[in-house]
């Protein structure tokens, strides 16, 4: 079997370190959904959204007091809190599976049951990302429809991002099926005398 070039090994190891650090930050990110709930608890969600630095208004639209008053604060807060919590959890799951997969690649263990499990975990994690995106896109749709602006900061997912995530999910599922088939073929080849 061909040995992995040293530079590929180096960059793969570097990537493992970066992903592991990002996992640590992602755990801290669980505070974010709590922030949304805090916002909802304190009331006047619409004003809080408008005051946020990440919220950019469409210049041509005038915001009425009626729109501000009728803004569905709690649905927005719940959609964003649930969506961001699912999204962070899914990202951690995805990153951990990725670290496992990259570690096996560095050890030149390409065909193993561990790798199949890791690839399947990537698919499951991406399913959660799609669910999280769906909630977040719903929440951001509320601000877009009522407050005539858009979120330009964290968790700014829109319906387009949800469709993109579904696309990635399909690609990952196809890779998972092909990889599993390759494993079966290799097992059969190993047991052909």
């Amino acid at each position: 079997m061909l040995a992995m070039p040293k530079w590929v090994k180096f960059f793969t190891n570097l990537m493992i370190v970066i992903v592991q650090i990002s996992i640590l930050f992602a755990y801290v990110g669980f505070l974010w959904p709590l922030g949304y709930l805090y916002e909802g608890y304190h009331g006047d969600v619409a004003q809080a959204v408008l005051d946020s630095d990440d919220f950019l208004r469409y210049s041509a639209h005038h915001l009425t007091a009626g729109a501000m008053a009728s803004f569905p604060g709690w649905p927005y807060v719940l959609l964003m809190a649930v969506g961001s919590a699912i999204w962070i959890g899914a990202s951690i799951m995805f990153a951990k599976a990725m670290v496992k997969l990259l570690n096996n690649v560095v050890e030149e263990d390409y065909f193993s049951q561990n790798n199949i499990a890791a690839v399947k975990r990537l698919v499951v994690a991406q399913c959660y990302v799609v669910i999280g995106d769906f909630f977040l896109a719903g929440g951001n749709q509320l601000t877009s429809s009522w407050l005539r602006g858009y979120n330009n900061g964290a968790f700014s997912q829109t319906w387009t991002d949800t469709i993109d995530a579904i696309g990635l999910l399909i690609v990952l599922k196809v890779i998972s099926v092909i990889y599993e088939r390759a494993m079966t073929m290799k097992a059969e080849n190993d047991l052909t005398v």
Partner: protein, 74 residues
């Protein structure tokens, strides 16, 4: 399912696993896969070598046995 009766023929010819593995040029590990029935397939070239060394026909080392689980499904 097809079963390998290599053990029986080897015993009749009084040949050890190591001797057979060396004679047909395969590793003892691969011969063990054959003997224990773990093999998924056997190459014609391997079968030919086994038959030549053991002076037998493919039918002497391969036997078809009806799978009871398959007949239940039918």
């Amino acid at each position: 399912m097809v079963k390998l009766t290599l053990n029986v023929v080897m015993a009749e010819r009084n040949i050890s696993s190591q001797e057979l593995a060396a004679a047909i040029d395969i590793t003892p590990a691969n011969l063990s896969i054959l003997k224990t029935g773990k093999a998924k397939a056997i190459r014609f070239s391997t079968l030919e070598k086994i038959c030549r060394v053991l002076e037998c026909q493919p039918g002497d080392i391969l036997k078809y046995v009806a799978d009871p689980t398959e007949s239940e499904d039918e």
